[in-house]
């Protein structure tokens, strides 16, 4: 089986956690933001992202020459946990911090790093993830959006869909066919950074089931992308993208999207002195603990450059199911009346959790696809 390291936090790390927590509590009290479930994907607030940038808390692990702090992956893990635990609105800079930065560090050119990373770190430059297309979801390698070579760059035609927060983002990292579809659909794909404000880009909102504007369809009509916006090696986009996925799938955001609700549940049971309910709820904590061990262990291995695709897929598939279970457990232990505009926090968190829960096991690769990966991985071991 996979063995993952255990992580003991240092005194400095404990200190850092408390520092972040105090900062967030202060801003919560001041009304800078309001706690929300699923805030990492549905809570986009550029002003808040800038504030976090000023703290030096975006690109925390990146080299100082790009504006980073050169802190450890575990420090970043702590920071992320603290954001999620209070449901802070970190969605605007989320993808840039979690994915684009590490991608550029690994595959990008020096020019790209110098251009993008300092802006990202300030909380002023946001990225969307342009992978899915209307007919290419789970079968991502079948994407059709294509690039034709012209002098000095590429001309893009096609569309991406479900692009979260594209309307707030400045750029998107996209998976594009730079060679015509051949024998192997995984070949000939490249990662290109597209300026979302370039001529020929049209962003059409797709309303989420709540009516909120969350994701978008992004159309490319003869969009010019200069050569220096190709990330890594031409035609190697599929492999580069896979490398990102371990980061994408194993973080605390696959466990804690509904934590504010759990917090409120425990507080409510305590207020009511409901020992029987608390006994039920306590089981949840042991599940959370088990998942958190896994997720932190994966973070540690990633920092050391190890291979963790399978455990990362497990964190996501088990973790997102856990997140989904919180509203279902809550409603059986306390009486709630879920409503997005409710005054009672528990009612509002119930509404947010229930309405956003379906997406947890879909976005970033469906559970079914992950089960397939895990099974293949363990059989192949």
């Amino acid at each position: 089986m996979f063995s993952l390291p255990t992580v003991q936090f240092t005194d400095e790390q404990e200190q850092f956690r408390l520092e972040v927590r105090a900062f967030l509590q202060e801003h919560l009290a001041k009304g800078t933001f309001k706690t929300k479930c699923d805030s990492w994907l549905s809570g986009s607030d550029p002003a808040f992202s800038k504030l976090i940038g000023e703290q030096g808390w975006i690109g925390l692990t990146w080299p100082k020459k790009y504006g980073g702090q050169e802190r450890s992956t575990i420090d970043r893990y702590i920071l992320t946990e603290e954001f999620l635990a209070v449901g802070a609105p970190v969605a605007a800079h989320w993808f840039a911090d979690r994915q684009t930065g590490p991608l550029l560090m690994r595959f990008g050119t020096e020019e790209q790093r110098e251009f993008f990373l300092p802006k990202i770190v300030k909380g002023e430059c946001y990225f969307g993830i342009g992978l899915s297309e209307p007919n290419s979801g789970s079968d991502l390698a079948s994407v059709k959006t294509r690039a034709e070579k012209v002098d000095g760059g590429w001309i893009i035609n096609g569309s991406k869909t479900w692009t979260s927060n594209a309307h707030d983002a400045h750029y998107a990292v996209t998976l594009i066919r730079t060679e015509p579809l051949g024998e192997k659909k995984h070949d000939g794909l490249s990662q290109l950074i597209i300026d979302l404000h370039a001529e020929g880009v049209t962003i059409v909102p797709i309303k989420y089931l709540t009516g909120e504007h969350h994701f978008n369809e992004v159309f490319f009509d003869n969009v010019f992308v200069p050569d220096n916006m190709v990330v890594g090696t031409l035609g190697n986009g599929w492999k580069q993208g896979l490398a990102e996925l371990a980061f994408e799938r194993s973080g605390p955001e696959r466990i804690l999207s509904t934590f504010p609700l759990l917090d409120e549940l425990i507080a409510g049971l305590k207020r009511q002195g409901d020992a029987a309910g608390m006994k039920e709820a306590s089981k949840v904590l042991s599940r959370l603990w088990g998942l958190r061990n896994l997720s932190i262990g994966v973070a540690k291995v990633l920092e050391e450059g190890g291979e963790v695709a399978i455990p990362a897929a497990l964190v996501k598939s088990i973790g997102t199911k856990f997140e989904q279970s919180i509203p279902e457990i809550t409603r059986l232990l306390v009486r709630t009346y879920p409503r997005l505009e409710a005054e009672r926090r528990i009612d509002r968190f119930m509404a947010e959790s229930t309405l956003h829960a379906p997406g947890f096991t879909i976005r970033g690769g469906t559970s079914e696809v992950l089960y397939g990966m895990v099974a293949k991985g363990v059989v192949g071991q």
């Binding site: 899915s132 007919n135 979801g137 789970s138 079968d139 079948s142 869909t161 479900w162 797709i206 309303k207 989420y208 089931l209 709540t210 009516g211 989904q324 279902e328 409603r331 059986l332 009486r335 709630t336 009346y337 879920p338 409503r339 997005l340 505009e341 509404a351 229930t354 309405l355 829960a357 379906p358 997406g359 096991t361 879909i362 976005r363 469906t366 559970s367 079914e368 089960y371 397939g372």
Partner: protein, 352 residues
């Protein structure tokens, strides 16, 4: 179901198929009133289905009505059909005059509503459709026990609110609102009304479950990935099998529950049904969304009109928490070693 009953259900289903589409439900969720749907039900005398002929109704029974409630869920019908018809059931069962107006109701334990000297006062939250209807049938505490009363909502202050499905769930405040009619009811009657109301919600939920199941089956035939329809993947087949199981258990639970209600005797059928349907609602909503993946969480797709109703309705009226408490109390009374005897007993304990 008799032929007569089947005919009623078919007629109404046809009306809903014609009149209630995704766009209609959207418009109502934005705060409009669907007069055409209301009108056609009125013209076809469907609003008085369960009212006896001598009271000017169509002479149907409660079981007809419950079967119609399934359709309300199946088509996400955005008018107070359940509310108006159920208010009339309450009125007729307690010997009061039925109303010809649009109506709603509030029957719960511990409602904070009191009646004194011919006027009613109190605040009630989550009253379905209050802003659009004329009459409210409500349980109030009188000086000598419970009363069922009818008040006009013209005499109420209404502040609009909604549930997760954007259906109106308003706060109604009554300050010495004049009583239209009233009658004493017993605690047993109130319990019975609470049970019936819970049964009504279960019936509506079962319709939404049916629809979510149907939409999912259809989608797995239409959607292709990796060069084949997704119903060919075993994990999708597992979802389909789970959905089919939940849908058929739900539907037969409702059939059995309605049969018991029609025989005017109950054991624990309403309780079992509601508890089981809340479980089914959870499984069905999750699986239906999982199979639809991204398209299913868009507002443009209709799936959410059913899943949001399931997530809303399961919190309304007497639900799992209420019924498990009742069941627990009843089970405490079962003699030692006689659970099987209890489960298989044909004698019905509660006469309606």
């Amino acid at each position: 179901m008799s032929e007569m009953k089947e005919m009623i259900v078919n007629v109404v289903e046809k009306i809903f198929k014609d009149k209630v589409d995704k766009e209609k439900v959207d418009v109502v969720e934005e705060g409009k009133w669907a007069e055409d749907v209301w009108q056609v039900l009125q013209d076809n005398e469907m609003l008085a289905v369960a009212v006896s002929e001598e009271n000017g109704g169509a002479g149907g029974d409660l079981d007809d009505l419950l079967n119609l409630y399934r359709l309300i869920g199946k088509y996400a019908v955005p008018i107070p059909f359940v509310e108006t018809t159920f208010a009339n059931v309450l009125l007729e069962k307690t010997g009061l005059n039925v109303t010809q107006e649009k109506a709603t109701y509030a029957v719960e334990e511990q409602l904070n509503v009191s009646i004194d000297n011919g006027t009613v006062s109190g605040t009630i939250v989550n009253v379905p459709w209050a802003r659009y209807v004329d009459e409210l049938v409500v349980v109030a505490a009188g000086t000598s026990g419970l009363e069922l009363v009818q008040v006009s909502l013209k005499d109420a202050a209404i502040s609009p609110n909604m549930n997760l499905a954007c259906e109106p769930r308003d706060t109604v405040t009554l300050v010495h609102a004049p009583v239209q009619q009233q009658t004493k009811i017993t605690n047993e009657q109130l319990e019975y009304f609470i049970a019936l109301e819970s049964a009504a919600k279960s019936a509506a939920m079962s319709g939404a479950i049916d629809k979510a199941y149907e939409l999912t089956v259809r989608y797995t035939k239409e959607r292709e990935q990796f060069g084949r329809p997704i119903h060919r993947f075993q994990l999708v087949q597992q979802h389909l099998a789970n959905l089919a199981g939940e849908a058929v258990i739900t539907s037969s639970a409702i059939d059995n529950m309605i049969a018991s209600i029609a025989q005017k005797c109950l054991q624990n059928e309403v309780a079992y049904t509601r508890i089981r349907i809340e479980e089914a609602a959870k499984i069905v909503a999750a699986s239906a969304h999982q199979v639809h993946a991204a398209i299913g969480v868009t507002h443009e797709h209709s799936l959410h009109q059913y899943t949001r109703r399931l997530w809303s309705w399961r919190e309304e009226g007497a639900g799992e928490a209420y019924w498990t408490k009742q069941l627990a109390n009843r089970l405490m009374e079962v003699e030692d070693d006689s659970l099987w005897g209890y489960l298989t007993r044909t004698e019905k304990v509660f006469q309606l």
